[in-house]
């Protein structure tokens, strides 16, 4: 372990903006994809049980 303190960890040796900017956006787009997929699946399955002509997205 090379970090002396929590603030040192977040500073990333002066590259904090770049390292966390890259990781944060990656996390956001992955979470967004999952949320969209779960919602789409739920809507479709709710429709599948009721009517074969249900419209979705």
């Amino acid at each position: 372990m090379q970090w002396g303190s929590v603030s040192e960890f977040f500073a990333m040796g002066g590259y904090g903006l770049y390292v966390w900017g890259a990781y944060a956006v990656t996390a956001v787009v992955i979470v967004a994809e999952m949320v969209m997929l779960v919602r789409r699946g739920r809507t479709l399955r709710a429709g599948a049980g009721r009517s074969s002509h249900a419209q979705s997205d």
Binding site: G13, Y18, V19, T26, E33, M34, G49
Partner: protein, 242 residues
């Protein structure tokens, strides 16, 4: 066991549903291990300082962006040649995750390029061909969305996917063919990797995490595609809780 029976949407739907939690679980465990290795086990790079830690998501995303495209082109081609519905649905389901991986590769690349090269973006062969890959994914998805008849959309988009596949080897070999600002590959099958082993292991763990995540996301999307396309079929009624 007859594996071909899973080539029908009706039998693949529940199988895909059972596989999703497994791949998500693998992705989560490997992702946590990979992040631990990336931030706590791997040392600071003597040349690039801590900015190099972006490699743990940049390389896996870039590899997946190319790999998913090849898998997409393969299934699109199978769908075109044999007229199999599930192949085309799989190709459609792969495209958004492939585009997402391409976006992550470009974004993390920009955030790595800025401190390393002094520029967010350069028109270098590697970066430009990766940007073309993003446009190919977007063009493919727009084409699928633009054609109302699903079978015609399958065929037209398959041709685009197959023609665009020529871009993938161009991306891969761009650092060899042209004098690029982008560094050469750190990992190669023909020679020993030019990285410390803990960095390499961390990166490979992240590659498998991204791989498992992509499989889970694509399986979830294939299930959605199946429900949308087979809406009129009798078997989709009563699927409420599966």
């Amino acid at each position: 066991m007859n594996w071909l029976k899973y080539s029908s949407p009706q039998t693949f739907y529940p199988l895909a549903g059972r596989m999703v939690p497994w791949f998500m679980g693998i992705a989560a465990v490997l992702g946590l291990v990979g992040l631990y290795l990336a931030f706590f086990a791997a040392p600071t790079d003597f040349q690039q300082g801590d900015s190099y830690r972006i490699i743990f998501i940049h390389v896996p995303a870039a590899w997946m962006s190319m790999f998913i495209y090849m898998v997409m082109a393969f299934w699109a081609g199978v769908g075109l040649a044999f007229n199999t519905r599930l192949s085309s649905m799989t190709a459609h389901a792969l495209a958004p995750t492939g585009a997402l991986m391409t976006f992550i590769a470009l974004w993390t690349g920009a955030f790595w390029g800025r401190p390393t090269w002094g520029a967010w973006w350069v028109w270098d062969a590697r970066l430009t061909s990766e940007l073309i890959l993003l446009f190919l994914y977007m063009g493919y998805l727009s084409l699928v969305a633009a054609i109302d008849d699903p079978r015609r959309a399958d065929k037209a988009s398959a041709v685009l996917a197959l023609v665009g596949a020529i871009n993938v080897p161009i991306i891969y070999f761009s650092v060899k063919w042209w004098n690029t600002l982008h560094q050469g590959s750190s990992v190669s099958i023909t020679r020993a990797p030019s990285m410390a082993s803990v960095m390499l292991i961390g990166m490979l763990v992240m590659v498998f995490a991204f791989w498992a995540y992509s499989i889970a996301a694509v399986l979830m999307r294939v299930r959605c595609e199946i429900l949308e396309r087979e809406r009129g079929a009798a078997w989709t009624k009563g699927l409420k809780d599966s």
